[in-house]
């Protein structure tokens, strides 16, 4: 019972950290809508000193808006053969 209560409290306390891994906007004052939608701590979680090198590992197309675009272009090449 005690374990279940501790797990529940832990979930409440730490459950909101899931977005921190993607926030590396050095000095950014961006107020993401999520900051007002159940993630009140998001703005404070912005890492002021994040290295610009972190950009390199963050530009993977698999995690960006380009996801899916490559597949579409490949589909076009195949379609045109």
């Amino acid at each position: 019972m005690l374990i279940a209560v501790l797990w529940f409290i832990g979930t409440l306390v730490f459950g909101q950290k899931k977005d921190t891994s993607v926030v590396k906007l050095r000095g950014s004052q961006l107020i993401h809508p999520l900051a007002n939608e159940g993630y009140p701590n998001l703005k404070q979680l912005i890492v002021p000193g994040a290295s610009s090198d972190s950009v390199q590992s963050s530009t993977s197309k698999s995690s960006s808006s380009c996801e899916g675009a490559e597949e579409v272009m490949k589909k076009r090449k195949i379609k045109n053969r």
Binding site: L25, S28, S52, Q56, S63, S65, V72, M73, K74, N80
Partner: protein, 282 residues
Amino acid sequence: MAVVTNVRGFALAYIIPIASILSFTKPEIADMALVKGGILTTTDPVTKKSIQVKLKSFLLDKNLVTVSDFEAFVKATHYVTEAEKFGNAGVFDDQTHHWDLVDGADFRFPFGRNKPKAEGSHPVTQVSWNDAIAYAKWKGKRLPTQWEWEHAAKNGENTNQQYTWGEDLVVAGKYKANTWQGSFPNYNTKEDGYAYTSPVGVFGKNKLGLTDMGGNVWQWTQDSIEPQGRDAELDPATRRVTRGGSFLCDPMICHGFQVMGRSSSTPESSMVHIGFRCAKDI
């Protein structure tokens, strides 16, 4: 002999300086910014190691090539873009939240024939790397290398600042670039005023007078890069490097519009978020 000497003297004194001045007042040169050479300290996209790249001075278009600019090229040369040859192009559908191959989409109708026509003042999109090369040659220019692009984005100062304009995406309540606000791909709050592309230059200039060196549309560069991982499995074809990010970049997941941001696509790719600007040797 005296006449010859006088002619040479006249040429040296008047004709050559005047010709030089006139050459810099040509529209295609006047619309370009001088980027002084130097040593660029950056990160190799493949090895991830810090590298230094020596660059000569060059000229770079102040603005992205617009729909009107490209239309003039097509009108003069009867050039047919790859999107027109394929009969379709890549469009991000903000209703389905997916990329689709849309029949009839091209630089005039970047979202398809049943969507609004592209505005002349907006950056041209749905142009492949090959299309961009053709345009650049017609203008007597070339595409910048990825290192030249980055050097220019850093204002030729080799700074570590995050964006071409400074450190913050929002300054005094105003967005400094056309990016995605909200949560990609689910919703865009359009706080920067634009859901798609924006007219070139509306977000201001960097120190060199260059506009849209972050956001609006990705920009083709000369350089090639071999795909890795999942990209290579999907298509092993050599990619061409793009820089600058686009209106689809959500800062929470995409850092493409930072000065170090980088992506790539195959050279025949034509997509709704890729455009280009040209460079020229001095």
